[in-house]
Amino acid sequence: MLWKRHIPILIVAVIGSLTLFGWFIDEPNIKAFVNDDATQWFDILASFAIFLGGFNLLKMQLQKVLRKKQGWQYSLFAIGGFILAIIAGFFYKGNPDVAWGTHVTADGTLFKWIFMYIFAPLGATMFALLAFFVASASYRAFRIRNFEATLLLVSGIIIMIGRVPLGSSISSWFILYLLVLIGGIAINSVFKNKQYTAIFVSVGIIIVTSAGSSMGWPLDQPGIFYLPHLQEWIYMNPNVAGTRSIMMGIGLGIFATSIRYILGIEKSYIGE
């Protein structure tokens, strides 16, 4: 009980308090501990964690193969890849002119070959597949079911088109004509009257055409309807506001959790 429970809690409480209060106490030794020693300790622990993570992965995959769980065949590839990487990392350089240690990034070595011709193409392929799934999913699931969904959809479209060069080639006047047509559809669905719709669309087109002719049809004017400006505004205003509030919430959550760890209330790290 003492070794498994009390001592780990004591270590977390003492080290946690030191690193937290080290930011507020102007004492050279505590500052040196927070800035140098604690960081070095973390680096050493992180290096060991790589081994721990690696062996844990191997154990899990081996168990899956031995117990013939669903999809165990894929685990063979994971184990094969693991063993191949260990051989390339620790036993066979593939290029005798390169020193051990630098062989992981040097040209002509097995490790570099694995990275360049197996890991990199596979990683790129996995990510590239996202484009297809995003297209298919947005086609089927992105629906204007309510006001919030419509807002999300419109902002998404503005950002998707406004971010790319195509967006900067679309004139504000085209967006204005589009808005007049969308307004016409809205009026038609509300009033169900063809005359009202025709009058709204005709007047809208005349106003936009007259304004465009008098201003000389500048591509980015009026700026509020120019997609690159609109997407920039969305990024810098509603997005920043939303993200900041989320970040503040996360920050408060981290603070509360840290205090729980330091006070010994949160004990999930010892399996409680």
């Binding site: 680096d43 290096s47 890991f119 990510f127 484009a131 297209a135 086609y139 992105f142 971010r163």
Partner: protein
């Protein structure tokens, strides 16, 4: 009218393999037949360029590579362009990596731009310090004492034997930081543990999906501009006048985005028709 409605409804339930085919074509065709759409820099890209351009010649610049092969198409063109800009202005470039695979890509970028294009000398004009595990602890380590963390560089050379490491002991010895980041650990950790506490200016280049969470730091002036995804890379290439992978990918991305938007619109028109019909009956 009914015929059109039926057609749209039919298209709404099209097999997803057709969608995949259209997306594939909309990406592949513009790569082979470029449209040459004009690239205009956004204010945030311009800010990165202006900040880097205003640095005095011979400044010490830390470039951190936090990305892997999956995000290479978005981040790597930025790194190449920023390195070109830095080497053109005769800055000293120090490269670190918070991601293990970032070291391979950083090495590739330095060889291409530093060694092959500018004919610079490793160790005198640029150095690859490499990857260290520990995420934000590495950032904190660089801030307090870089020599404790990096005793050797990525080539195994002792840091004390690298000429350009003279006078570089901690993060504050650098004049500027550029973080090429695809996630955690990355830009946010550099802001929180390095740039903000030390007042060393920094800029960043991130994946499009990450822009949202980094933008508050840009708006607050803690980060001097941001290169946002592949469009940001293409804009930077346009600013330095060296078109590269970012520029060539822009036509494909433009058309792919347009196609996805058209799919969304078509799907919604189908949804509205279906909803109206179900209300009627």
């Amino acid at each position: 009218m009914k015929y059109i409605s039926d057609l749209i409804l039919k298209m709404s339930s099209v097999d997803r393999r057709w969608i995949f085919l259209v997306i594939a074509l909309s990406v592949i065709l513009p790569l082979y037949f470029p449209l040459g759409l004009p690239i205009r820099p956004t204010p945030t890209t311009q800010q990165v360029y202006d900040t880097i351009d205003a640095l005095p010649h011979g400044s010490k610049i830390l470039v951190s590579c936090e990305y892997g092969p999956s995000t290479k198409p978005e981040i790597h063109p930025m790194v190449l362009s920023v390195l070109r800009h830095l080497f053109k202005n005769e800055h000293k470039v120090y490269v670190t990596c918070l991601w293990p695979d970032g070291q391979f890509l950083a090495s590739e970028a330095l060889d291409l731009v530093g060694r092959d294009e500018y004919g610079l000398t490793y160790g005198e004009d640029y150095v690859l310090l490499g990857f260290r595990p520990g995420n934000e602890a590495v950032v904190k380590g660089i801030v307090s004492d870089i020599r404790k963390l990096y005793t050797i560089d990525a080539k195994g050379t002792k840091v004390t034997e690298i000429p350009m490491m003279n006078g570089v002991n901690r993060f504050e010895d650098f004049d500027f930081l550029f973080s090429a980041s695809a996630g955690y650990p990355g830009t946010i950790e550099w802001v929180q543990y390095a740039a903000d506490p030390t007042n060393v200016p920094m800029s960043t280049g991130t994946t499009s999906i990450q822009v949202n969470e980094v933008m508050p730091y840009v708006a607050a002036g803690q980060v001097q501009g941001i290169l946002a995804g592949m469009p940001g890379a293409a804009e930077y290439e346009a600013l330095i006048g060296v078109p590269g992978i970012g520029t060539s990918g822009m036509d494909a991305q433009s058309i792919a985005h347009l196609v996805i938007v058209l799919f969304i619109v078509l799907g919604n028109v189908g949804y509205l028709i279906e909803r109206n019909r179900s209300k009627k009956y």
